[in-house]
Symmetry: C2
DNA sequence: TCTTTATTAATAAAAATTATTATCTAAGGA
DNA sequence: TCCTTAGATAATAATTTTTATTAATAAAGA
């Protein structure tokens, strides 16, 4: 993972064990809910407040380090900032897998945006279905 | 809008004023939150319970008439079922506009799914940015 | 080390969602 | 048209999720 300590500092956010733990938890999981971040960190830091996770996720969203991944019918998951990509979301087990987005797709999205005088900033591309481990 | 009365019936859901009002409200708005559906219907049906909106949205989601549109940083909106398409979502005013999805894009999504043994059922393609009315 | 200021934990408050239940109504049959 | 009945609604309570408050704490720089 990138140097998040410097990134936090550049936005005036102090480096705390809590923040680094949250980033580490997200990085390891790939995509994870607020609750699961909290549970994860609780194991070796039992006093972590859930509110602290909420607060910091919000702050780190605002500075662009963390991105919300809203998922139909489920609680949002969070990931570290990365280039636009595709999500394969399993409706059985809830897994979320990243896939590179094709250049052609990006061009088409750009074209649609231009046609509609829409200033495109980011995309979220969720493919819902059943993952290979859940077909039996 | 299609004949939702028959659709409800075919799934064993009784046709009620409340359900038809919800469907109509969604149809007219295009994309709308639970709260706004409730407020909308309240004007000429002041006794409508918010819980009734929640319950029915859930039931109509389950039978596939209504689809949740989760939006990063905001409350989900709901729309009537339609073919997969693209959303232009304005981060200033919150507007959501439908755009047809290009066949090429669909093919690429299919290809990615096949490559990953993923059974693709539906997609949600959110393009976040600033709409033409919000650039000044 | 000291000082300052942001951050945290703990808690309370608020907002959102779901559950419960008595009453009511849509739908089908007599 | 008038029952009958299963399912739906309204009202409310309960639960869950998220945000606000604040005293104590810890990071960062002097
Ligand atoms: Mn991702
Ligand atoms: Mn739509
Ligand atoms: Zn799965
Ligand atoms: Zn706008």
């Amino acid at each position: 993972m990138t140097n998040y300590q410097n990134l936090l500092k550049s936005y005036g956010l102090k480096t705390t064990f809590q923040r680094l733990s949250i980033l580490k938890s997200i990085d390891i999981a790939g995509h994870i809910t607020i609750d699961d971040i909290h549970k994860d960190i609780l194991t070796n830091h039992p006093s972590l407040s859930l509110a602290t996770v909420y607060n910091n996720i919000l702050k780190m969203q605002n500075i662009g380090v963390v991105v919300e991944v809203p998922i139909s019918g489920k609680k949002s998951k969070y990931e570290l900032i990365k280039d636009d990509h595709i999500h394969l979301i399993c409706q059985k087990c809830g897994s979320v897998v990243d896939k590179d987005i094709n250049c052609d797709v990006e061009q088409i999205f750009d074209k649609i945006s231009v046609e509609n005088n829409f200033v495109l900033l980011s995309t979220q591309n969720n493919l819902y279905g059943v993952c290979k481990d859940c077909i039996y």
